[in-house]
Symmetry: C2
Subunit: 209 residues, 2 copies
Amino acid sequence: MTISGASKELPPAAAGDPRRRNARAHEAILVATSELLTEVGYARLTIEGVAARAGVGKATVYRWWRSKAALAVEAMSRRFDSPLPAETGDLRQDLLDAVRRAIDGLARSPEGALIPALAADLMRDPTLAAQFREQILRPRRSRVIAILRKAIDRGELPANVDVDLLMDVYVGAVLYRVVVSGEPVDESLAEQLVSLLLDGKQPVIPSVD
Amino acid sequence: MTISGASKELPPAAAGDPRRRNARAHEAILVATSELLTEVGYARLTIEGVAARAGVGKATVYRWWRSKAALAVEAMSRRFDSPLPAETGDLRQDLLDAVRRAIDGLARSPEGALIPALAADLMRDPTLAAQFREQILRPRRSRVIAILRKAIDRGELPANVDVDLLMDVYVGAVLYRVVVSGEPVDESLAEQLVSLLLDGKQPVIPSVD
DNA sequence: CGGTCAATACGATACGTATCGTCTCGGCGC
DNA sequence: GCGCCGAGACGATACGTATCGTATTGACCG
């Protein structure tokens, strides 16, 4: 195809990047996707709908994103930007805050409802799944990791705590309740989980006194 | 639920049920669904495909099942019948067994891959979601509940343990790793989770000695 | 400098396929 | 015969691809 000897080309987003030209359409597509995700959810999101809303041809969407999932991942990674955490320096308080954030993100916002459908598509596209974890999961997790590391430094947690698993436990419990068991997700859940993780106390049914 | 009115309806397959005649087609449809679920997964399962494989008209499928999700739920509820548990009477051993079963079901069998896509559909159909929990979730959970109750009777667990949450924790952690974080799900995970739940030990990275 | 031009991304839209859920058909078992 | 059956035609919708003519751009030339 490209024959001429001298051209600079593929390297991503350099000066002479093709994207310079696309900036407007590119942006409009991501905005439209983001809006439609909250309006109709992931399952009912269609490429045609995105193109129409963005005032763009379908082909333009397909030119840059392989699939609906790829589009959604990029659109979402913009929104999950940074609701900065509190970081009081008190492990219990900070962890409780992190659990509450997980609950808000998964159970209270419409984002949570997107996850199962998106996850289903991601399971078929390992590359995209990796991107999802990198761009969306990792930033959120790294904040909690920072909290836990400081607690380790203070000696409040063993040095070899498996921080990843620790997070998987509370996020998993919340996610499971939201998407599978349908049981309530509330403040007392947050407290139970923190208590389990920090004090080793088995969860008990809160008394009603 | 119980409707005092005249019509008997939802209750499954009574004597003078219209299903009498349909028995053959009915069965063929469920078998075809079950086979296709393992062959192509939930996302690529189509009603047309089911009808074709079952040697049945599409309308016959729609006559009895509102949606692909309803069909899948019923087909799955037959397979999850009963891989009877061991029940040694030793809490740690029995719980470990339960966690391993969860891992096998979610991470090792193809069933696990169905869950996100199915869950996404279930979130739009609360009635069906309830049926899913009743027919598929509850039987599996009730076995673990029995184990935990006996442990309570023996005094190995506090009387007011929140058994539901306890199960949510380990199932959630496993599910989260499988469908979201993509981290490994192995035997050491099972042990870590049991240790967290029974001993209150925070998860630590297994040393490599 | 400023004008020209090939390259190419653009919006639009037509295309063929797939699947949906509805709907009519004869046919045949009860 | 009544009514459920299998078959499949049907209008929708969305897919992903292909092809228009246009608009914008950066490189080159004058």
